[in-house]
């Protein structure tokens, strides 16, 4: 087993709707889909973000596109208009997800 950043095997983008942030996460290769499925669960993500994401996190699988959509409620400090954060629209929530550490088995990325 070794630890890597999710970014090594995935890419995506974040968007905002009010105080909700969505981050899509696509496998960089088709075989990485199952690693993301195993490692990036809503529970793990919720634990990872801690106080930063106050609401529920839902994961929607999209196997035909080789990825997942994560929807995080109360994730932007009140949303575009209310938030005191520098990144009130959560443009960098995508890269914040991508720096999460995940475990991969030996040979799994070969």
């Amino acid at each position: 087993m070794r630890e890597i950043c999710l970014l090594e095997i995935a890419h995506g983008r974040s968007g905002d709707k009010g105080d909700t942030s969505n981050v899509c996460v696509f496998a960089r290769k088709p075989e990485y889909y199952s690693i993301i499925e195993r490692e990036v669960t809503p529970e793990r993500l919720k634990e990872y973000f801690g106080e930063m994401v106050k609401g529920e996190i839902t994961r929607y699988p999209l196997p035909a596109l080789g990825g997942f959509n994560f929807v995080m409620r109360h994730a932007l400090g009140g949303g575009a208009t209310m938030s005191l954060r520098l990144d009130s629209l959560g443009k960098s929530m995508g890269s914040a997800v991508m720096r999460m550490k995940i475990q991969v088995k030996d040979g799994e990325l070969d």
């Binding site: 983008r13 009010g18 990872y48 801690g50 930063m52 409620r73 400090g77 890269s95």
Partner: protein, 455 residues
């Protein structure tokens, strides 16, 4: 086989007009959609209009796109649909008419769509017992009733299609859903029925992939940003549809990239449940959709399904919430973060002594954790090697005088605080905070009208 090409000319109010102009001049398109409205834009426009009734729309559509290439678009029969009208659709439309008249564009037809602005209907809806429930589950609408800037429904394609049917060369709207600006011409051309959900869903997703401009053709591209050619002249995406296919490409001779990965990143942008992506026109199901490269800068998007449209329309209500001010001060190596943090503590002690009453204070450090917040790398190694760091203190209060208290407290820290501080950008200001009340309204409360001005 009939093929219609439509381009995305603008991703937001303030976007570069270059790609739209290039597309008009160089691409074989019949339509262009230009999106100017984000969630908060209508409230900003409402506030501008309150100060000056002639304002309240995005003048850039005329000044930066039509004045440059509007005549050429007209001569080439490229029809443009835009929501640049914002809160003042008629003002926007008449400014376009004045320009076209001055240009001698005899016969130019400006369509405009009314009906999204529900401010006048609000009292009646309340009397009828509609409660405007907050979809985020918070608050009572009656408490914000007197602080409202704007009440606009996200309306669908109907009004735009109505204008196109009357021969409009350009269509100006207010809060029409972004993607409906693109669905309208496609439905108009292919003659899809109002309940042909699969086709409507495909048209909506063409719009979805185009409505953010460059973000659909290599901008904000996480997969491999270095691989995007000629970003300094980034082309915006173009959708080509036939009766049953959809391909995304871009104009010839421009920068940018259209590939599976760039298309996927935009496909789910601001989508919540992919099996139920709600729009005013159709409930879109993306759960089985496929995206495949079929040529250079060309992908095919397929298997988009549609379901019956929702019975209610999303409502965009902007209201006065309070005030905010942001103060910043930069610090240099060594110990840039430690000094910035200490300085923040000093300022907050002073604010306490000055009796500042703030409902919320947010402190972060630009260059370290202001973007990734709690998940930023705050390890000893990261902190030790920091060349510089900017203290950022943001304050929210319902009282502007409370926010203002912190403004003169930042710059003195250059001389009175930890070493290596430099103040930049001038004193900050108190800004109004407008909040959004997310809710829905019954469809029959909205009466959409399509009107035409002819030059």
């Amino acid at each position: 086989m009939k093929k219609i090409a439509i381009g995305g000319g603008q991703g937001f109010w303030g976007d570069s007009p270059d790609a739209a102009i290039h597309m008009i001049r160089n691409a074989d398109i019949q339509y262009m959609g230009c999106d100017y409205l984000a969630e908060l834009t209508m409230s900003i426009m409402a506030r501008q209009q309150k100060k000056d009734p002639a304002k309240g729309f995005a003048p850039d559509f005329l000044t930066r796109i039509l004045k440059e290439a509007g005549r050429e678009a007209w001569q080439k029969h490229i029809r443009i649909c835009t929501n640049a009208g914002g809160m003042n659709v008629e003002g926007c439309a008449s400014s376009i008419r004045d320009w076209a008249e001055a240009e001698g564009m005899k016969g130019y037809r400006i369509g405009y769509v009314l009906g999204d602005n529900l401010s006048d209907q609000l009292p009646k809806l309340l009397r009828d017992g509609w409660t405007f429930p907050n979809l985020d589950g918070e608050g009572d609408f009656r408490e914000i009733r007197d602080q409202i800037y704007n009440v606009n429904a996200y309306i669908g394609h109907e009004g735009v299609e109505g204008c196109l049917q009357q021969g409009a060369d350009v269509v100006v709207t207010g809060r029409v859903a972004d993607s409906a600006l693109f669905l309208a011409p496609l439905k108009h051309e292919f003659g899809w029925a109002a309940d042909d959900w699969d086709h409507l869903a495909r048209g909506i997703m063409a719009g979805h992939l185009l409505e953010c401009g460059g973000q659909g053709s290599g901008g904000n591209y996480m997969y491999d940003w270095r691989s995007v050619p000629r970003m300094e002249e980034l082309g915006f995406p173009i959708a080509e549809l036939t009766e049953d296919t959809m391909e995304i490409t871009k104009a010839p001779d421009c920068g940018g990239l259209v590939c599976e990965q760039s298309c996927k990143e935009q496909f789910l942008y601001e989508v919540l449940d992919p099996s139920n992506y709600l729009t005013p026109d159709v409930n879109v199901d993306l759960s089985e959709a496929e995206i495949r490269q079929v040529g250079e800068n060309r992908v095919r998007v397929s298997k988009i399904r549609g379901k019956k449209r929702p019975d209610t329309l999303k409502l965009c209500i902007g209201y006065h919430r309070g005030y905010r001010t942001v103060g910043m001060l930069s610090f240099a190596w060594p110990e840039a973060y430690e000094k910035a943090k200490y300085c923040g503590e000093i300022i907050m002690k002073r604010m306490k002594r000055l009796g500042m009453r703030a409902e919320d204070v947010h402190i972060s450090y630009i260059g370290l954790n202001s973007l990734h917040l709690d998940v930023a790398d705050m390890s000893e190694t990261a902190l030790h090697s920091l060349n510089e760091c900017v203290l950022r203190i943001a304050v929210f209060s319902t009282d502007p005088a409370e926010c203002a208290k912190i403004i003169p407290e930042i710059s003195p820290m250059q001389l009175n605080g930890p070493p290596g501080a430099s103040f930049f950008g001038g004193r900050s200001h108190v800004q109004e905070v407008i909040a959004l009340w997310p809710t829905v309204v019954p469809r029959d409360a909205v009466k959409v009208e399509s009107r035409i001005l002819t030059v």
